[in-house]
């Protein structure tokens, strides 16, 4: 707050860098102009993780690009793979067999739970609840080890292929998965006590960073950030892909659009994903899990567009092919692009400086899918 003393006024207007080296910024940079403790303006400066993915993909075949697509959003790799293999299949006019689609949906939901657990950790760090981080990141290990046993890769599974999946999901894998799901359901009670219904956590996030419905739609919000502001749009329900037409999906929405609503939306999504995986395991058909896709398969000239629901929101792939074995152009729409660059500056205007990390992480941006 400004005072009437002119010398104090000069001192109270400051420009503070937030990141790129900051415990609560990820690899992202923003310049904050503030007047005392109130933020007047925030200018984001992304680009610390820019690799030019879309250009690199033009030099590689589709199978090689599947390996690369994992790394677009490093916190939720399977959603990127899902997007790339589906758009490649659409461009080639090929469909994966039913069993392959079911396995893909199961692994993508497991990836969603993994991503939300990572988010529980970072939001806990942002509000000062370190135990939440330690426990959530310890529980992540269970799912990562499951990933390793099923796919061979801990963090970057490279499991989906255009045409299906690399390896089958065996009876033992499914049993192991069911045990991990039971464990997570049991642990949810602890997360509720320690994190979600913890009075300090609630008071740090309630009525902070409130995103109105109009702003959310106008600025391109998707995923839990949009649903917490009252808009019920979820790609899995509206344009179901892979095995999603076969399940009952409850779309978790919120009312107030503040940081706490977003937190509760993600909590609801963890619970919904546990139910989805169980439904899919029960309904999984027998049969082939992939169709043949040669290493240097040529895709006919044309275009394809595909959207999937990543943990952070709508992830879209637009592919233009020219008849060769490499795509002519791939455009990836990462959900965090709009969240961090359009919505975050709007939300912190007028907020307290100490709330900036909490608002930032309540939007769950992934700097990697922002920059690609």
């Amino acid at each position: 707050m400004t005072t009437s003393d002119p010398e104090e006024n000069i001192i109270s207007f400051m420009t503070i860098p937030f990141g790129p080296q900051h415990p609560a910024s990820g690899h992202f940079h923003a310049m904050i102009k503030c007047d005392g403790e109130n933020v007047t303006e925030l200018t984001p400066h992304p680009g610390y993780l820019h690799r030019g993915f879309e250009k690199l993909m033009e030099y590689r075949t589709h199978v090689q690009n599947t390996m690369l697509s994992d790394r677009v959003c490093i916190l939720d790799p399977l959603a990127n793979e899902m997007g790339y293999v589906n758009v490649a299949e659409k461009a080639a006019g090929i469909e994966a067999p039913e069993r392959g689609k079911f396995i893909r949906a199961i692994m993508a939901e497991l990836g969603r739970i993994l991503s939300h657990l990572t988010w529980v950790g970072v939001i806990s760090y942002a509000v000062g609840l370190e135990s939440g981080a330690k426990i959530a990141w310890g529980d992540r290990e269970k799912i990562i080890r499951l990933n390793e046993i099923i796919t061979g890769g801990r963090i970057y599974p490279c499991y989906f292929m255009p045409g299906g999946v690399r390896r089958d999901l065996s009876r033992e894998h499914a049993d192991g998965m069911a045990r991990v799901l039971d464990y997570m359901e049991e642990k949810l009670k602890l997360y509720d006590d320690l994190v979600f219904y913890n009075t300090t956590f609630m008071s740090r996030l309630e009525n902070v960073g409130t995103l109105s419905r109009e702003d959310a739609v106008a600025l391109g919000a998707t995923g839990p950030n949009l649903r917490a502001s009252g808009v019920s749009t979820d790609v899995r329900k509206d344009e179901p892909y892979d095995a999603y037409p076969y399940i009952d999906l409850e779309v978790v929405t919120g009312e107030k659009g503040d940081a706490y609503s977003r937190a509760l939306c993600r909590r609801g999504e963890i619970i919904a994903s546990l139910s989805i995986i169980r439904q899919l395991l029960a309904k999984m058909p027998a049969g082939d899990f992939k169709v043949k896709w040669p290493m240097t398969k040529k895709v006919p000239g044309g275009e394809a567009y595909f959207c999937c629901e990543a943990a952070r929101g709508e992830m879209c792939f637009h592919m233009v092919s020219d008849g060769s074995d490499k795509p002519y152009r791939v455009k990836i729409r990462g959900p965090s692009f709009s969240h961090a660059l359009a919505i975050f500056p709007r939300l912190v205007r007028g907020a307290q400086l100490a709330d900036v990390p909490a608002v930032y992480w309540s939007l769950d941006p992934c700097p990697a899918d922002m920059d690609r």
Partner: protein, 156 residues
């Protein structure tokens, strides 16, 4: 599912709609450059309130850039893509920030990576790259492997 939308756009803009590709839940319009902003404005009025993306494709053989606008309607749960081609030599088109404020950063990215200027966009300063002196990197005449060999050769 989008028959009424396609009929409305065709009746308003006639021959300026060069091509329509209807799919089950999505339609793609290819339009001429002069009507591009008007068609988008009409689509927004018909309920396409979410702008997913503004992206460029470099058709160097044709001497053109193609700009794709990907839209979604929260109420009707359908998608529309609008394509418009502009000359590669001095690429210029009106911005759509007046229709969708969230378009500002998508256009800024397309400007940095392709060199397309969006008239009316308040800020087209570089987004990802610092002190970049080459041509916009996503153009087809920029070979990233040649650049890496030249720039980072002493690193090997």
């Amino acid at each position: 599912m989008l028959d009424d939308i396609i009929a409305d756009v065709r009746s308003r803009f006639g021959e300026s709609i060069l091509h329509v590709l209807p799919e089950e839940r999505r339609a793609t319009f290819t339009v001429t450059r002069p009507v591009s902003h008007e068609v988008l404005s009409r689509l927004k009025a018909m309920g396409f309130d979410h702008l997913s993306d503004v992206s460029g494709v470099d058709y160097i053989a044709d001497g053109e850039f193609e700009i794709n606008y990907h839209l979604w309607s929260h109420a009707r749960k359908v998608r529309v893509t609008q394509k418009v081609r502009i000359a590669r030599e001095s690429p210029l088109i009106e911005s759509v920030v007046d229709l969708w404020p969230g378009a500002q950063i998508h256009e800024r990215e397309a400007h940095e990576l392709f060199g397309i200027t969006f008239e009316g966009n308040p800020d087209l300063s570089p987004l990802f790259l610092e002190d970049w002196t080459e041509i916009p990197p996503f153009r087809k005449d920029f070979d990233t492997r040649e650049y890496v060999k030249k720039q980072y050769d002493d690193d090997k």
